[in-house]
């Protein structure tokens, strides 16, 4: 078999990952070459969001447990990576109460981002094992309560995070290329986990946890693996985000941001990686358009008052609409596959 044939065979077998990765690279190259700076910015932000969304999807999509907590891991990654890579002089000025050892610390950006992800994964590994026993509403509430604990610590621990005030001076590092590579890496990770035996076990527990347990799957351990991996991914995404935004406060890792993340996951369909990519695309475009509309309404001065919150308002309506008409998301929990185009589309899995 020639190399071309072999790679074609490989691409067919892993057509989901290939079909998601190729367009992302193509659009990335096009935007980089021909796009305006605004478009480059939007696409970079899209790639960073995609990293976060895939982090959420690895846990939520595979285990079926709605997670409010992941935006907290994004925050952990952002703060860890920001603190590790910001020059000491900037930290000494910007965060007056910071521990001296943290102030003196400075490492290059890339290892800082990786360490940020690892810190998030370690925190997840320490706290989450007992939570993985909880399913359904109770599990959701526990994760939500933990997010609040995260938020309180971030806003109050001013020796580390500068409290509720803005943490600024994070070196800029995330270009379109960095974000794109990050997003592709996340797709590969998410895909690898999904197809791995552990991923299969988690998905089995999502569909019927009693049947899964009966076939000898340790449901708690399987969920735990998914959770720690997804926290690692969310932490990495947070680091990349921090080096894109360069200044942030704990507010960025709370309810409203979480709602944006969740809307991306839910609108596309939490059950699949393709759903996460499509959801992120749709929501990013919709938000960008709405923001332009809001800005042009405000700039045109046709109204006597400033328009605030229109974007969120419309997003909320859109989200409820999607949940009413397609509760499984736009592509209904399926992955894009080459075979889909040849044969008749499979019946959707309906949820009772």
């Amino acid at each position: 078999m020639s190399i071309i044939q072999r790679s074609l065979e490989w691409a067919r077998k892993h057509s989901t990952a290939v079909q998601l990765i190729v367009p992302l690279i193509l659009v990335g190259v096009l935007v980089q070459m021909f796009g305006s700076s605004l478009l480059v910015n939007v696409y970079t932000f899209f790639c960073v969001s995609l990293m976060m969304v895939l982090g959420v999807q690895v846990f939520m999509g595979n285990s079926g447990i709605l997670s409010f907590l992941h935006v907290g891991f994004v925050g952990v990654g952002a703060y860890a990576s920001g603190i590790l890579s910001t020059p000491p002089a900037v930290k000494a000025m910007g965060v007056p109460n910071m521990f001296q050892t943290l102030v003196d610390l400075q490492i290059p950006v890339l290892p800082a981002i990786l360490l940020g992800g690892i810190v998030a994964a370690i925190i997840a590994a320490v706290i989450s094992y007992p939570m993985m026993r909880l399913s359904d509403a109770v599990g959701v509430i526990t994760l939500f309560a933990t997010l609040i604990v995260f938020h309180v610590i971030m806003t109050q621990w001013d020796n580390v995070t500068n409290g509720p005030r803005t943490f600024f001076g994070v070196p800029e590092y995330t270009t379109l290329t960095v974000a794109l590579v990050g997003a592709l890496l996340m797709i590969v990770l998410a895909y690898w986990f999904r197809e791995s035996s552990m991923g299969l076990r988690v998905r089995a527990s999502r569909d019927d946890r009693h049947a899964a347990a009966a076939t000898g799957i340790n449901v708690v351990r399987a969920r735990y693996a998914a959770f720690v991996l997804s926290a690692l991914m969310a932490g990495l995404a947070g680091g990349v985000w921090a080096h894109f935004i360069t200044s942030f406060s704990p507010k960025a890792f709370y309810m409203s941001e979480m709602f944006v993340l969740l809307s991306m996951v839910v609108i596309g369909g939490a059950g699949s990686i393709s759903g996460a990519v499509i959801g992120t695309t749709v929501v990013t475009i919709a938000r960008e358009v709405l923001r332009q509309v809001e800005a042009s309404i405000n700039n045109a001065h046709v109204l006597s008052f400033e328009v605030f919150g229109l974007t969120e308002l419309v997003m909320a309506i859109l989200m409820v609409a999607v949940l009413i008409w397609r509760p499984q998301g736009i592509i209904g929990g399926q992955e894009l596959k080459l075979s889909r185009f040849k044969f008749k589309k499979k019946e959707e899995v309906s949820n009772v």
Binding site: S135, D136, V138, G139, A145, V266, L313
Partner: protein
């Protein structure tokens, strides 16, 4: 430390939290939905007071309007958002309630203002009385009295009327209840109306404490109701009431005993307690009847 002032303050805080918690639990019992939009019903009550004060309504009318507005919004969100999603997955319901919450917040943001608005309340809210040497705001005593009346009415409704019995049955086994001929939409609408009523009453006292209302007013009471129900038990209104009082007590004790440097972490402690409760006693303080399985 434990004097009359502490007792009354704890009781009044507990009463307010109990009201909040019961409103949340009524809907949870039937739909198994943790309604994230619940806090926004309180916010609506606050804005209703603000608006009716602009119009110049007398204070009793203002209070009625506030409660009515809260009930109306609760009812409308049920019809428009929760009803169509109800038969879908539970995640869909949860996310919907989150979306409704964001929606309501942004409606007032857009329609009124992102800034806080002062809420005028009748004079007797801010008066103080002296009982046994302790100076107490009259408001605190009013909360206790109001809660007692409201909870008595509610327990009469739940125990003695057909509607109440239907609701309790629905909270245990919704499908069986429907098979017995109880209309699902009716019971759920009733639960949302009562939930809105409780939110409205609690909302009056909530905005009465700070004297102002802004689009994010609903966040704090939602979280409190949340903790209280989890601690007390999510399967019965009694559990919610107990949870409310336990929360008030814990909150006051933590406020007194935590060293000054840790006081700002109080909320983290409260939520850590919630997580512990969920892990070790997910059915809450009051264990009652059928509980959902939870271990995966």
């Amino acid at each position: 430390m434990i004097n009359l002032e502490f007792v009354i303050n704890t009781l009044s805080l507990g009463s307010l939290y109990a009201l909040l918690a019961v409103g949340l639990v009524l809907v949870y019992g039937i739909l198994k939905l943790v309604n994230f939009a619940y806090g926004e019903y309180l916010m609506v009550a606050g804005y209703a007071i603000y608006l009716s004060a602009i119009v110049g309504a007398p204070w009793w009318a203002t209070l009625i309007i506030a409660v009515a507005a809260s009930m109306l919004v609760s009812f409308l969100t049920e019809i428009a958002a929760f009803r169509p999603v109800r038969t879908k997955s539970m995640d869909a319901l949860l996310v919907t309630s989150f979306a409704v919450s964001i929606f309501l917040q942004n409606v007032v943001l857009l329609a009124v203002s992102p800034r806080a608005r002062a809420v005028p309340l009748p004079d007797f809210f801010s008066k103080t009385v002296v009982i046994g040497g302790a100076v107490l705001p009259l408001r605190n005593l009013l909360i206790i009295a109001t809660t007692a009346v409201v909870l008595a009415l509610l327990s009469f409704l739940m125990k003695k009327t057909v509607l109440g019995m239907a609701m309790r049955a629905a909270a245990d086994k919704f499908t069986t209840t429907r098979l017995m001929g109880v209309p699902a939409n009716f019971v759920i609408s009733a639960a949302f109306l009562i939930s809105g009523f409780l939110a409205g009453v609690a909302g009056i006292f909530w905005v009465g404490r700070s004297g102002s209302v802004d689009p994010l007013t609903g966040a704090a009471p939602l979280l409190i109701a949340f903790i209280a129900t989890v601690m007390g038990g999510m399967n019965s209104p009694i559990g919610a009431v107990v949870g409310g009082f336990v929360y008030g007590l814990l909150f006051n004790i933590l406020s007194i005993t935590l060293p000054a440097s840790m006081i700002s972490y109080r909320d983290a402690f409260m939520f850590a307690i919630v997580v512990l409760f969920l892990l070790f006693r997910p059915e809450g303080i009051i264990r009652r009847g059928y509980t959902e399985e939870r271990v995966g």
